[in-house]
């Protein structure tokens, strides 16, 4: 039965997808292709859509694949399945967290994990800015991504010097969308 398959398939994804969406995509690919729900081309398209719409990529993809296989019910079942493991794990961890955090061994592990995570996030940010800002096509540096990067960066970080708190992340997303339309569409 397709609903049960969707539930089990995406439960697997929810249970084993470590390291955010980019770690999850290969896993989702395996699950979706092994059940034969979609062909590779359609799945690649769905990944593209999930990346360019708001919300967690894994959840978007589950909704999309579920809907394509079994309509509203399918999308609900797949979304629920992908979310359920992390929901339960966090509830358990939170309930235990206070006691566990006091354990010196746990603290030792966390002392390594936290700076490591900061390094990973910093590298991801730096890499994304470079990759999206410095685009070279036919050995010509593209001007628009570079200008967009400089303007948006100056606006976001510079606005803090003028007003406390500066531009909120949500406002930056709105401005960047409008700037993208203006830069490429007009």
């Amino acid at each position: 039965m397709i609903l049960l398959e969707l539930f089990i398939g995406f439960l697997k994804v929810g249970c084993f997808a470590f390291g955010g969406a980019y770690g999850a995509i290969p896993l989702i690919r395996d699950v979706v292709l092994s059940y034969g729900w979609l062909d590779d081309e359609m799945l690649t398209y769905m990944i593209g859509v999930s990346e360019s719409t708001p919300g967690p990529i894994m959840v978007n993809l589950a909704t999309y694949v579920g809907s394509s296989q079994a309509g509203v019910l399918g999308s609900l079942v797949a979304t629920l399945a992908v979310v359920l493991p992390s929901f339960i794990i966090i509830l358990l961890v939170t309930a235990l967290l206070k006691a566990v955090l006091k354990n010196p061994y746990v603290q030792a592990v966390l002392r390594g994990l936290k700076p490591c995570m900061i390094g990973i996030i910093l590298a991801t940010g730096v890499y994304m800015i470079i990759r999206n800002g410095i685009v070279i096509q036919d050995s010509v540096l593209m001007v628009r991504p570079l200008i967009l990067t400089l303007v948006l960066g100056a606006l976001y970080f510079g606005s803090r010097k003028i007003k406390k708190g500066g531009i909120s992340p949500i406002l930056l997303i709105c401005i960047s969308a409008a700037a993208g339309i203006a830069a490429y569409g007009l």
Binding site: V83, F87, G125, S176
Partner: protein, 191 residues
């Protein structure tokens, strides 16, 4: 405002403006849940993200569940998580039913060219804020720099190594350092 409603609306807003995966969302959580609403402290957010990174599943869901639980128990966790998912669920569902060629719509593609850049900036911002609160000692600095260099290389050469491998290695090394140094310190104090 009713706290349940507030949780729901806040996370619906975060869900609606989170693009490009969990890291970009950290800046949004920091801005709303830590700075504006003061539902959690910066430290708690760091702990949640570390837990989120070390457990499976979308980081955004983990954060919503944690903040909701802290404010209003299991019901709060449920409401915050549903709030986080609902906007994208509706959007994706509508796209899957009515839009066959979503990626070919030019103005959306153009908007996304801009959003992609904003996402990078938000991730950098989240990282900088975390760096500012990090202990300025040699060991954390070394962990941070190694992870930074490794992750950058992984990205540049698109190696299929998940960030979880780096996290595991860092946790393990840190534990070993602790276990090696602890008996020595104790022995030293005992003499």
């Amino acid at each position: 405002m009713n706290l349940f409603l507030d949780l729901f609306l806040t996370f619906a807003k975060i869900g609606l403006f989170t693009f490009g995966g969990g890291y970009a969302m950290i800046a949004l959580i920091e801005n709303t849940c830590v700075e504006k609403k003061q539902w959690i402290t910066h430290d708690e957010m760091m702990n949640t993200i570390v837990v989120a990174e070390s457990t499976p599943g979308p980081i955004a869901i983990n954060c919503a569940t944690y903040v909701g639980y802290k404010q209003k128990g299991i019901v709060g966790a449920l409401i915050a998580t549903i709030g986080m998912i609902l906007p994208s669920f509706c959007i994706i569902f509508a796209i899957s039913k009515f839009l066959d060629h979503f990626l070919e719509i030019t103005w959306i593609a153009h908007a996304f060219q801009g959003i992609k850049i904003a996402v990078g900036i938000l991730i950098l911002d989240a990282a900088i804020k975390m760096l500012q609160t990090m202990q300025k000692k040699p060991l954390p600095k070394a962990f941070m720099l190694c992870a930074f260099a490794a992750m950058l290389l992984i990205n540049i050469f698109s190696v299929r190594i998940s960030s979880i491998v780096l996290m595991l290695a860092a946790g393990l090394i840190s534990l070993i350092i602790f276990m090696v140094s602890k008996p020595a310190a104790r022995g030293g104090a005992g003499k």
